[in-house]
C-alpha cells in the first residue's frame, strides 16, 4: 500500500513539475504575480511529493519488502539497519530518486527565497521545473524505484558489501547535493540570459548557491576518496578512474565559477563567461550522472545491456545542456561586459585561475571521453590512464599554485605585482627552506616532491600573509589587529581557509606520493616483516562473525624501530554469504599524520605450516590529503555564513513565515 502511495507521489511530482514550468512561464509572460506564485507553490509541492516517494522507498528497505524489485535486488534481511536505509540510494533507481529529491529540494528553496526580482525568479523557477520534469519523467517511466515484482522472493540479493560502509552511506547524499546544487546556478544563468541582464547583483545571488554546492561536492568527493582509501585495500586515494573523473569535472568548473563570479560581483566584468560557467558546471554534473549511470565508461559493455537508459539520459543531457548553450549563443553577445582591467590586477589573477581551471577541466574531460570517441570514430580502443592525468594535471596546477598567493594581494583593475610580492617575502623564504630541508633530509631524494612541498608551503603561508596583511598583524597594536580581524567579512576568512586547504592538500599529496612505502610477505605465525622503519609481527589468526558476514582476522603487532608498540592491527578477510563476495577489511594504525595500513591476503600453505599473505603500506602525511579538501569545504561554509549573504536567509525565513500559496491543481 505504502509503495503504491509512493508511486502515486512520484507521478504527482511529475505533474507538479510540469505545472511549475507552465505556471511560471505564464506568470512571467503576463507579469502576473499570482500565476508565478502558483508556480512557486507547485515547486514546493513537487518537493514534498518526491520526499513522500523517497520515504516510501526507505520504508520498503527498512521493512525488507522484497515485493519491490529494487529492494529485492539490493537488500537483505540480515543487513544492518543503517545500510538498509542507505540501500535506498545504493542502486541506480534509488540514486536517481535521490537526485530528483535534491533537484526539487533546491527548486523549492529557490521558490521560497524572497530576494530575487520577479522576472529572474519566475524564469529560474520555470527552468528548475523543466530540469525536474525531465529527471522525474525519466525516473517514473524508465527507472522506477518502486516497481513491484510479479513473484515474491523470500530473500533479497543484498547490497554489495563494499558499499556497506558509513563513509559510503553518506557519500551519495553529499555528492548529489553538490552536483544538483549547481542546478540552481544553471537555472539562474538561463534566467539571466532570458532576462538579458547579468550584473553584480545577479553574481551575488548565485554566490550562496555556488558556495553551498561547491562545499558539499568537495565533502562528497573527499568522502568517496577516503572510502576508496580505507575500504579497497590498495593503499591509494585517487586513481583517475572515469567515475572519479566524472565527479571531479563539475568540481573544477565550479571552482572556476566561484572565482569568476567574484569578478562579476565586484567589478561587473567577465559576465558572459560567468554565465557560461554557471551552465557548464551543471552540464558536467549531468554528464557525470550520464557517464556513471549509463555504465558507458565503467565497462564498455554495460552500455549494450540496457542501452535505453543510457540513451534517455543522453537525451536529457542534450535537451538541458543543448538548450541552455543555444540560448547562450543567442543571448550572450548582448550582455554588457565592459569593465576594463589590466592583466596584472585582481581580475587578471582570477582570470588566470579560470584559464588554468578550464584547461584542467579540459584535461579531465578529454582524457575521460577520448577513449569513447576514438572507439566510435575509428574503432581503435585506446586507454587514457593515471600517467597522462598526473602529468598534465600537475603541469596545470603548479602555475595556478605559484600565482595563487599573489592574487588576493593585487588591487582591482590595476595591481602592483612587485608590491604584492614584497608582502610575500616571508612565505617565499619559508617555502624555499621547506623545499631545501625536504630535499636534503628525506631519502630517497625527490626533486619533484621537494617542489610540491615548496608549493604547498608557499600557498599556505601566502594565504596567512595575506590575512595578516589585512588585519595589519605585527604592524599595528594588537587591540587594533583584533578589531580588524573581527571586522573582516567572513568571505575573506573563508577564502583564506580554502586557500590554506589547497596548500595542505598539495603538501600531503606530494609527500605521500613520493615516499609511500609498500611491503608484501607471506608470514607464518610468529614471523615478522619490515615496512619503512616499522616491524609487523603476525601473532595469531582467528575467526569472527559480523552481522551479515564471517571473517578470518589476523592479529599483527606493529612496532617501531625502538621496539615500542605502535598498535595492534587486525585486518580481516570477510565473506558475505548473501552475495558470495570476499572483501578485505583493512586495518589502519593512525599516527599523527601518517598511516600504517595493513591488508590480509589469502592463506598460503607451505612446508613450514600455514602462512598468510600480508601487505603493508606506510602512507606518510596522508592525513593532509583528506584534511586539505575538508578545510576547503569549511572555507566555503564560512564564506556562506557571510553577513552580506545573510539577508537572503532572513528574507527567505520571512517568506517562509508567510502563508504559502496554494499548490496548483
Amino acid at each position: 500500500m505504502i509503495d503504491e502511495l509512493g508511486q502515486f507521489a512520484l507521478v504527482l511530482a511529475l505533474a507538479l513539475s510540469l505545472a511549475q514550468v507552465g505556471l511560471s512561464i505564464a506568470g512571467r509572460v503576463r507579469r502576473d504575480a499570482s500565476l508565478a506564485g502558483a508556480g512557486e507553490g507547485a515547486a514546493l509541492g513537487a518537493f514534498i511529493a518526491i520526499a513522500l516517494g523517497f520515504l516510501a522507498l526507505i520504508h520498503a528497505f527498512v521493512t525488507s519488502d522484497f515485493s519491490v524489485l529494487n529492494v529485492a535486488a539490493n537488500s537483505h534481511t540480515a543487513k544492518p539497519l543503517i545500510y538498509k536505509v542507505a540501500g535506498a540510494w545504493g542502486s541506480h533507481e534509488g540514486s536517481i530518486l535521490l537526485w530528483c529529491l535534491m533537484l526539487t529540494g533546491y527548486g523549492a528553496a529557490v521558490a521560497a527565497s524572497g530576494k530575487l526580482p520577479f522576472g529572474l525568479k519566475a524564469s529560474a523557477v520555470a527552468t528548475q521545473g523543466l530540469l525536474g520534469a525531465l529527471f522525474i519523467g525519466y525516473m517514473v517511466f524508465a527507472s522506477n524505484p518502486l516497481t513491484r515484482l510479479p513473484e515474491l522472493p523470500v530473500q533479497g540479493n543484498s547490497l554489495n558489501p563494499l558499499l556497506q560502509d558509513p563513509a559510503l552511506a553518506a557519500h551519495p547524499p553529499f555528492l548529489y547535493s553538490g552536483y544538483v546544487g549547481f542546478s540552481v546556478v544553471f537555472s539562474l544563468s538561463v534566467a539571466a540570459l532570458v532576462e538579458g541582464r547579468v550584473d553584480p547583483a545577479w553574481a551575488r545571488w548565485i554566490r550562496p548557491w555556488t558556495l553551498a554546492a561547491w562545499s558539499l561536492l568537495t565533502v562528497g568527493i573527499t568522502l568517496g576518496s577516503f572510502w576508496a582509501y580505507y575500504e579497497l585495500g590498495w593503499g591509494g586515494w585517487w586513481a583517475w578512474d572515469p567515475v572519479e573523473n566524472a565527479s571531479f569535472m563539475p568540481w573544477l568548473l565550479g571552482t572556476a565559477l566561484l572565482h569568476s563570479a567574484a569578478v562579476t560581483e565586484k567589478r561587473g566584468a567577465l559576465a558572459s563567461w560567468t554565465v557560461l560557467l554557471g551552465i557548464g558546471a551543471f552540464t558536467l554534473s549531468m554528464m557525470g550522472a550520464f557517464l556513471v549511470r549509463s555504465g558507458v565508461l565503467t565497462s564498455v559493455h554495460a552500455f549494450a545491456i540496457d542501452p535505453r537508459r543510457g540513451v534517455l539520459l543522453l537525451g536529457i543531457l542534450g535537451i538541458a545542456a543543448g538548450g541552455a548553450l543555444a540560448l547562450y549563443a543567442w543571448r550572450a553577445p548582448a550582455l554588457k561586459d565592459e569593465a576594463a582591467f589590466t592583466p596584472v590586477s585582481r581580475e587578471g589573477a582570477l582570470f588566470l585561475n579560470n584559464v588554468l581551471l578550464a584547461a584542467a577541466t579540459a584535461v579531465v574531460l578529454i582524457g575521460t571521453l577520448l577513449p569513447l570517441i576514438r572507439a566510435a570514430i575509428d574503432g581503435t580502443p585506446i586507454s587514457v590512464g593515471a600517467p597522462y592525468f598526473n602529468l598534465t594535471f600537475t603541469a596545470l596546477l603548479a602555475p595556478a599554485l605559484i600565482a595563487l598567493p599573489a592574487g588576493p594581494l593585487l588591487a582591482w583593475k590595476r595591481g602592483d605585482l612587485p608590491a604584492a610580492l614584497r608582502r610575500l617575502w616571508l612565505a617565499a623564504v619559508i617555502a624555499l627552506a621547506a623545499a631545501l630541508a625536504t630535499f636534503g633530509l628525506v631519502t630517497p631524494r625527490s626533486l619533484l616532491a621537494a617542489c610540491g612541498i615548496a608549493l604547498g608551503g608557499w600557498v599556505i603561508f601566502g594565504a596567512l600573509a595575506e590575512a595578516a596583511d589585512r588585519v595589519k598583524a605585527f604592524r599595528a597594536p594588537w587591540r587594533e589587529v583584533g578589531r580588524r580581524a573581527g571586522g573582516l567579512p567572513r568571505g575573506a576568512w573563508g577564502m583564506t581557509l580554502a586557500h590554506i586547504g589547497i596548500g595542505v592538500f598539495a603538501l600531503g599529496a606530494s609527500f605521500e606520493t613520493a615516499w609511500r612505502a609498500e611491503a608484501t610477505e607471506v608470514l607464518r605465525l610468529g614471523q615478522s616483516m619490515h615496512l619503512a622503519g616499522f616491524e609487523l609481527r603476525l601473532d595469531r589468526v582467528g575467526q569472527v562473525f559480523g552481522p551479515n558476514f564471517e571473517a578470518e582476522r589476523a592479529h599483527l603487532r606493529v612496532t617501531d624501530r625502538a621496539g615500542r608498540l605502535i598498535c595492534e592491527a587486525a585486518p580481516e578477510r570477510r565473506l558475505y554469504a548473501a552475495g558470495g563476495q570476499t572483501i578485505s577489511g583493512v586495518a589502519i594504525c593512525p599516527r599523527v599524520l601518517d598511516d600504517v595500513y595493513v591488508v590480509e591476503g589469502d592463506r598460503r600453505d607451505a612446508a613450514g605450516g600455514p602462512g598468510w599473505l600480508i601487505r603493508g603500506y606506510w602512507n606518510p602525511w596522508v592525513r593532509f590529503v583528506f584534511l586539505g579538501p575538508l578545510l576547503m569545504a569549511l572555507g566555503g561554509l564560512v564564506s556562506l555564513s557571510d553577513r552580506r549573504l545573510r539577508f537572503a536567509i532572513t528574507a527567505r525565513a520571512r517568506a517562509a513565515r508567510q502563508p504559502a500559496p496554494a499548490p496548483a491543481e
Binding site: A72, A73, S91, E93, L149, P153, Q155, N157, N160, L163, L168, H171, P172, G224, W227, G233, W234, A239, D241, P242, V243, E244, V292, G295, T298, A302, I305, A340, P343, G348, L352, V355, A358, A359, A360, A362, I366, T380, I382, V384, G385, A386, P387, Y388, T392, A411, W412, K413, G487, L488, P489, E518, T520, E521, V522, I583, V599, G601, R604, R615
Partner: protein
C-alpha cells in the same frame, strides 16, 4: 541471485556497477606477491614501474599493478620475464601493443588521433591568454584613479562595509 527472474538479474548486475567510485576491484595491489618477484630488486622495481602503465584488460579501470585478475597475473609474469631478459621498455611495450592493441597502454602513444589529449589543454590556455590581452588592447584604459587613491577608496569602502 538464483531465485530472481532473468531480467531482474541483469538489473541487479547493473546496480552493482552503480555507485561512484566502485570501479576499483576487490583485492588489489597483488603485484607484490613474494612468490612472483624477480630475484634482482632493481629489475623487480623496474617491472613494477612498467606494470603501472599496463592496463588490466579484463578489469574495469585498473593497471595490472593493482589487479588481482588471473590475466593481470599472467601479464605481470610475461613482463617480468622480459625485464629479466634485459629487453628495453620500448620492446616490451611494442610486444604488448602487437598482442593487445593500443588499449593495453594506459599512456596513449603520441599520434594524430591522440593529439587532442595534449593540444586540447594547451589550446585552452592559449585562448585564455589571447582573450586577456585582446581585451586589454580593445578597451582603452579610462583615466582612472592612481594606485594610492584606489587603495584609499578600497580602504574606505572596506571600513564602511564592516
Amino acid at each position: 541471485m538464483r531465485w530472481l527472474p532473468r531480467a531482474t538479474l541483469t538489473r541487479a548486475v547493473l546496480a552493482r556497477a552503480a555507485l561512484p567510485l566502485i570501479a576499483t576491484a576487490l583485492l588489489c595491489a597483488a603485484a607484490a606477491d613474494p612468490a612472483d618477484r624477480l630475484a634482482n630488486p632493481r629489475q623487480e622495481a623496474h617491472a613494477r614501474q612498467l606494470f603501472r602503465d599496463v592496463r588490466c584488460l579484463v578489469c574495469q579501470s585498473q593497471s595490472i599493478d593493482e589487479s588481482d585478475a588471473p590475466l593481470a597475473h599472467d601479464l605481470r609474469q610475461v613482463i617480468r620475464a622480459q625485464v629479466a631478459d634485459g629487453r628495453t621498455d620500448d620492446q616490451i611495450k611494442s610486444f604488448l601493443v602487437a598482442r593487445y592493441g593500443q588499449f593495453v597502454l594506459l599512456t596513449p602513444k603520441a599520434s594524430l588521433g591522440n593529439a587532442v589529449l595534449w593540444a586540447g589543454p594547451v589550446l585552452v590556455v592559449i585562448a585564455g591568454a589571447a582573450a586577456l590581452f585582446s581585451r586589454r588592447s580593445k578597451t582603452p584604459e579610462p583615466p582612472g584613479l592612481s594606485v594610492e587613491e584606489e587603495a584609499d577608496v578600497e580602504k574606505l569602502s572596506r571600513e564602511q562595509a564592516s
